[in-house]
């Protein structure tokens, strides 16, 4: 990323734009949680908005939009893969089991 004064001024405007977008998305998250769309849909909508907010932070504030280093993208891709595995593994292992099974070891 170029560090010239003019470029940085453009960046500052972009940061303020992202700040506004994050504010709006936070309000939207709270509003969406008050609309009864069913538990699963509510959860999906909230997580989708959170994912959008997270991508804005990562791309603009963490400068990934301008990141050209392959090793960082490879690190992030592996990270995303294992994170997805971590999230979906419990769902896969509990699918079809009675709800109480998960808690059976808790006594």
């Amino acid at each position: 990323m170029s560090g010239s004064h003019a470029d940085m001024s453009k960046h500052v405007k972009m940061y303020l734009g992202v700040l506004s977008a994050l504010f709006v998305c936070t309000i939207l998250t709270v509003y969406a949680s008050t609309v009864n769309m069913g538990h699963a849909t509510n959860m999906t909508v909230a997580l989708l908005i959170a994912a959008f907010k997270a991508s804005l932070v990562a791309m603009i504030f963490m400068h990934l939009k301008w990141e050209g280093s392959k090793i960082i993208w490879i690190t992030l891709a592996l990270c995303a893969l294992f994170f997805s595995l971590l999230l979906f593994l419990p769902m896969l292992t509990t699918t079809g089991l009675p709800a109480s099974t998960v808690y059976s070891s808790w006594g």
Binding site: Y15, T75, L87, P90, V102
Partner: protein
């Protein structure tokens, strides 16, 4: 290059394409994703597997979305002030960058103060402890670990506002890179909260 001086703190490494501090920070953040990912995974497992009626409702959990939402906005603003500190350094304005760093620290302390005084303290006195339920065990673990990360960030920022700032006089580019790495960590802390807020405050 003299012995004992770390190479590639400013210039780009020919193999990785970035300065070494940045690569190190990203690798550290990848390990952090795994740490919080494990906790989110445990939460999902316990939430999905909870027998009907055993998971507390939003009212029973007594977590105010207003406090959680306010804290979300606090962290978002602190992320902006952090990146503005870095942008100010890129524009060779150290005084402005220092002010932005101080504001970031103050916002972080506001977050912690609100968390302790309006959530942890009253909850604890009402008997809502980690041993109360699986939900509260998850809640205290996840938000507690996140709060510790915030405190860690505050310590690093205070160092760069105070004694670490002398590097700006001798090697401004190196100092700017250090602030960029601190920023990467800080944005990650913000990013974790972006997920914690809806999961813990809005989804019961």
């Amino acid at each position: 290059m003299s012995a004992g001086v770390l190479p590639y703190t400013v210039e780009t490494h020919p193999v990785t394409g970035v300065y070494s501090g940045k690569l190190g920070t990203w690798l550290f953040l990848a390990s952090e994703v795994m740490l919080f990912g494990g906790l989110f995974s445990a939460y999902v497992l316990l939430r999905v597997g909870a027998p009907e009626g055993t998971w507390p409702t939003r009212e029973e959990a007594e977590l105010s979305w207003k406090i959680g939402g306010f804290n979300t906005l606090t962290l978002i603003i602190s992320s902006v002030t952090m990146v503005m500190a870095w942008a100010s350094l890129k524009m060779h304005n150290f005084a402005k960058a220092r002010i932005y760093l101080i504001i970031t620290v103050l916002l972080a302390l506001l977050f912690i103060t609100l968390k302790l005084s309006l959530e942890y303290y009253p909850h604890w006195h009402e008997g809502l402890k980690p041993s109360t339920s699986v939900f509260f065990a998850c809640y205290y673990t996840m938000t507690g670990l996140h709060a510790l990360h915030i405190l860690g960030g505050v310590v690093v920022m205070l160092y760069f506002i105070g004694p670490g700032a002398s590097l700006w006089k001798t090697d401004p580019e190196h100092y700017t890179n250090r602030i960029e790495c601190t920023g990467l960590y800080w944005h990650f802390v913000d990013l974790v909260w972006i997920f914690l807020f809806p999961v813990l405050y809005l989804m019961n």
